[in-house]
Symmetry: C2
Subunit: 236 residues, 2 copies
DNA sequence: CAAAAACGTGTGTTTTTGACACAATTCTAG
DNA sequence: CTAGAATTGTGTCAAAAACACACGTTTTTG
């Protein structure tokens, strides 16, 4: 087999940023490392690209190992490649982010990896450039969720409108008007009524909806400003 | 120096998608290869990541070699990493896209690389997965240009509103209403009047504006729907 | 059974969009 | 040197969307 001459081959890692939502706050699945390097510190879940493995496939494998979940929302975020980002050896890292329904997790797999769900508010410092990765991922999540209905990926298959609103409020760290939010979401025709009510609620039980997946796919292609009030320019 | 054991090191390439605008149509700077592999075929400008070189730095180097330009708009698009994308040897490619003012190019450097500006409409087939890269880049450009004022990067420092409109029409392949477009752009306060007029125009000479760079930077952070009519869902 | 908490729907005002009219500038043809 | 064609600049108005609030309903708790 022919090869390219005179060019350095380097390590290719993958890191996964795994978002979840517990009904109150946005969470990350992080690992307290019980292995080297950086034993004892917190990091993202990661691994190396194998021979004969596509990038997307490798990201899926890493996600599956940790959560037991397949077919989640998984999107390439960005590749990080400054020279000394990994002090052990030069390594570039292709970072993916994933949105999972926290209820579907494989608790045993998570414990086996010494991982836990941490609120973004109380996130510890992470190794290498993983903090920067999380920052970029959160930006991307905010960006995409304002224009595409990907928030549903973080909710159970049946959910109420107020739950969805709490999710958006957690993602953006703001308060939204309940009535306008409801009208906006309903206008998309993305929700299918199940007729059931949320039995977990303490007070009035909200109506449970499921996602209209045909319409969902269409909304992923185009874009729709779900939350115009979030478009505000940061500097003004 | 410690190293990670048992993991394959692979080649990391970079490819650059270089967009330009000639006043009529959106163009790509493509290379007719006079070197192996795939001698004689068309491809993107690319290269390999060097030791001691950041990814962003490498992309900038490749762009500079071809165009003689630095400090252009340069953004990482995505990393392509299916196993057999390069038949010579497994290689992942970190792809960047760049927006350049076509008037600033270094003609000698471009000729030396056997490159030319090709309209997107008449783009030849490219090697490997470069066609797919271009498709993704165009999607990204359309996405970003609808929400951030990055179109200006493709224009000369002084430009008229009709020129800007022609650019948007080329990016999206549609016709826009002149009067509504003007109102929308003016409302952003992004344009600074120079008092001069466009002497190249054949008929009525339009007013030349420059970009208000302070406001420009703010618009890059947040988002603003420059062209709401482009939000239409592809499937409906 | 009264109060508190959360849910669901409605209404009016303001802002933005989208469609279109008209006047002004500049070159060219006769 | 003037009429007409092409293009640029500004304005108007109706419809749609966004925004700010009001009110009634459901359910648990004390």
């Amino acid at each position: 087999m022919a090869v390219y001459q005179h060019n350095t081959r380097i390590l290719v890692a993958l890191d996964c940023i795994i978002f979840g939502f517990d009904g109150e706050s946005l969470k990350l699945l992080l690992i307290k490392r019980n292995f080297e390097p950086e034993y004892g510190k917190w990091s993202l879940m990661g691994g190396f690209l194998n021979d004969g493995e596509d990038l997307e496939e490798a990201a899926g494998r890493i996600l599956y190992n940790l959560t037991g979940l397949r077919n989640n929302y998984l999107e390439q975020l960005q590749t990080f490649g400054t020279v000394y980002r990994d002090p052990v050896e030069r390594t570039i890292s292709v970072v993916y982010y994933s949105l999972v329904n926290i209820a579907d997790q494989d608790v045993a797999a998570i414990q086996a990896h010494n991982a836990s769900w941490i609120s973004l508010d109380s996130k510890p410092a992470l190794i290498f450039d993983h903090d920067q990765m999380v920052t970029v991922a959160l930006q991307r999540l905010r960006y995409k969720a304002a224009l595409h209905p990907i928030g549903f990926e973080l909710l159970p298959s049946k959910f109420t409108v107020p739950q969805l609103q709490k999710l958006y409020e957690a993602i953006y760290g703001t308060q939204l008007d309940r009535r306008n939010f409801s009208r906006k979401i309903m206008a998309t025709d993305l929700l299918l009524s199940t007729g059931e009510k949320d039995t977990n609620s303490v007070t009035k039980k909200g109506q449970l909806y499921t996602l209209n997946s045909d319409r969902y796919r269409k909304y992923l292609d185009g874009y729709y400003t779900f939350l115009p009030e979030l478009a505000e320019l940061s500097g003004t």
